[in-house]
């Protein structure tokens, strides 16, 4: 079991490291932030002074080593625009994003999976067709269109819900719904196909041949097997939560990390962008790690293959 955990940990660290390096190289190579920050008509020596101040004049790999050293010491660099530590800037915004993403994740799990399982057990019923339709909608309607439609209906026409800002909890309803509808559809469709596949297995027939009640067969025998593929897709969804927030926060002008990222990207604020990228990559990799560990616990065959 230990080797199973170690191998996964090693791979996680390597992936984070790769993402950071990739982001660093891409951002540094893509044009001179000083030029953008100070505007085109600033005299050359002011630009040079600025570059020197931020250490941008050193060769790339020197900057890279400095950056890595600073990360380990917890200093994620300073935002060029607000002269505030990038990490602190980002940490301020995390609660806002979590206020959106966590309920959205819960909605996806609590509605998506049961709907998918129910549809799988009652094939060709209206629930089954409903889930397929929901999945197609979730799949085809981009989140920004969904957001704007909701704003159009609930704010503009009905005037029931606010369309932007973060004052009361009412404000978080529309963004949360926008984020979760897509996810619910996809998760429902995925759990449905996982459940259908498991229900066809011979051990389900053995379970009912033993005289188990239908509900015991579904809960006791089918769900533990369907859990393995479902956990994979949930792990992936958790990983890409923040990425989803980028668009939704822009629509509802919600002061979260996503919006901060868009703003700092357009302003070429290197330190902030990198800090956010690192955090997103970390959540992605950690969620994959958790999924791998869950695998081991959920499916003993995997534990046997990789452990002893």
């Amino acid at each position: 079991m230990i080797r199973f955990v170690l191998t996964r940990l090693l791979r996680a660290v390597m992936t984070i490291f790769a993402v950071v390096t990739f982001a660093f190289v891409v951002l540094r190579m893509s044009g001179d932030p000083a030029q953008v920050m100070l505007g085109p008509d600033v005299p050359q020596d002011a630009v040079d002074a600025f570059r020197k101040a931020w250490g941008l004049d050193q060769p790339l790999w020197v900057q890279y080593l400095a950056y890595i050293k600073s990360i380990f010491s917890g200093d994620f660099g300073v935002s060029m625009r607000d002269k505030v530590s990038a990490l602190q800037l980002v940490l301020e915004r995390i609660p806002a994003t979590l206020q959106l993403t966590l309920p959205a994740l819960l909605l996806k799990l609590l509605i998506g999976i049961p709907a998918g399982v129910y549809a799988a057990l009652h094939r060709q019923s209206f629930a089954d067709r409903g889930v397929i339709l929901l999945a197609i909608f979730g799949f085809t309607i981009p989140s920004f269109v969904m957001g704007l439609l909701l704003v159009l209906i609930f704010s503009v026409i009905l005037g029931v819900l606010p369309s932007g800002g973060q004052d009361t909890w009412m404000h978080s309803i529309l963004p949360t719904i926008t984020m979760s509808i897509g996810g619910i559809g996809i998760l429902a469709r995925f759990s449905r196909s996982a459940m259908i596949e498991v229900m066809g297995q011979p051990y389900i027939r053995t379970a009912s041949a033993k005289g188990l009640k239908w509900s015991d067969v579904v809960w006791g025998h089918a769900l533990p097997n369907a859990a393995v593929p479902i956990v994979t897709i949930v792990g992936f969804m958790v990983g890409s939560l923040i990425a989803g927030a980028v668009v939704v926060e822009s629509i509802f002008s919600w002061p979260g990390i996503g919006r901060l990222l868009v703003v700092s990207v357009t302003n070429r604020d290197l330190a902030v962008v990198q800090c956010i990228l690192l955090m997103i990559a970390a959540t992605m990799v950690i969620s994959n790690l958790v999924v791998d560990l869950l695998y081991g616990w959920l499916d003993p065959r995997l534990r046997a293959q990789t452990a002893h």
Binding site: P202, T206, K210, G211, H221, P224, D299
Partner: protein, 332 residues
């Protein structure tokens, strides 16, 4: 005549309008062991899956299935659940995929004990261990908490038998239990089934396409073809002198291990597609003895003088069956 344990009357099964089973009448006496033989697609497994209501939703099952006079075909789910495992248990062909891969085998046995014998906790565990010893699982205590993938094919089959015995059923349906196993392991399982029947006195239905295996464990045999029983009789009777051309063809096609090396005698043609069965007797296109009547009207299963039941207009004659084959059979 003690009443039959289980009586199937004109059991019919259709999948999406395609008739697969065309009215099966079959009795299983208390403690009796019946063999169901036939090639793939003849409906031998479907018969008992339908009787126990284990077929998928889209299958339509009609006819009557009575256990000691109590009708269960089309009964409520509660009735069927109480019969499955409690009165009639079933084991399947592919042992490695018929056990739940993510649940410990101990729990899969105690689960059945909880339903049918109200045993829980330590009492259930000791009973499960006794069952595991009974079916020959080496040092059951240590392996109680292992998972199915940590057992060999033969051991998985033994575990499935232990699970089936948990509810102390009166009838065990064994659906091709030895087909997926190696020859030596197959022999072990056949021996185990015979021994268990002797110990528990329960009835058994042994479904297989392997006539050799059937003859080791069964007293009575039914041969099935294209969803119908074509011949039924005591094992010695049927094996000594098969009267239905298909049963005779099945015997001749089996390669012999004893006796000289000779060409096999196949049955020409292929099994008919259930969607468009030929008129009259389904075997007529492949039958060497078919006459006009065979191709027009369907022979139904009637008893004949020696207690056998036969569905054929022109059965294989008894006395004048000259081929060397039957004679060498007696000689062995």
């Amino acid at each position: 005549m003690i009443p039959n344990l289980v009586e199937l009357r004109s059991l019919r099964v259709a999948f999406d309008g395609v008739q697969v089973l065309h009215g099966i009448d079959l009795d299983v006496g208390r403690g009796e062991s019946v063999g169901l033989v036939g090639e793939s697609g003849c409906g031998k497994s479907v018969t008992w899956l339908a009787a126990l209501g284990l077929l998928p939703g889209k299958a339509s099952v009609t006819g009557s299935v009575r256990i000691e006079g109590r009708e269960i075909c089309g009964g409520s789910r509660h009735v069927l659940e109480e019969v499955r495992g409690g009165r009639i248990a079933m084991i399947f062909q592919d042992p490695s995929s018929s056990l739940n891969p993510v649940i410990r085998i101990g729990r899969q046995i105690t689960e059945a004990l909880a339903i049918h014998r109200r045993l829980h906790g330590e009492a259930a565990k000791t009973e499960a261990l006794r069952l595991m010893d009974m079916v020959g699982i080496p040092d059951a205590r240590r392996r109680f908490d292992l998972y199915p993938h940590e057992f060999s094919g033969g051991q998985c089959q033994r575990l499935m038998i232990a699970m089936a015995l948990a509810g102390q059923p009166d009838l065990l349906i064994a659906d091709e239990p030895t087909t997926a196993l190696d020859a030596t392991i197959q022999a072990q399982i056949l021996d185990l089934l015979v021994q268990l029947r002797a110990e528990t006195g329960m009835a058994m239905v042994f479904i297989s396409h392997d006539l050799g295996a059937v003859s080791q464990v069964c007293e009575r045999v039914c041969a099935m073809y294209a969803g119908r029983i074509v011949e039924q009789g005591r094992m010695e009777q049927l094996f000594a002198e098969p009267r239905h051309p298909y049963t005779r063809g099945l015997f001749d096609a089996i390669p012999r291990i004893d006796g000289p090396r000779q060409r096999l005698i196949p049955i020409t043609g292929t099994v008919p597609n259930p969607k468009n069965l030929p008129a009259g007797c389904a075997f007529s296109p492949r039958c060497g003895r078919a006459v006009e009547a065979c191709r027009s009207d369907l022979p139904n299963l009637e008893p004949i003088h020696d207690g056998r039941r036969l569905a054929c207009h022109r059965p294989v004659p008894v006395v004048s069956a000259p081929p060397v084959r039957t004679r060498t059979l007696e000689a062995v």
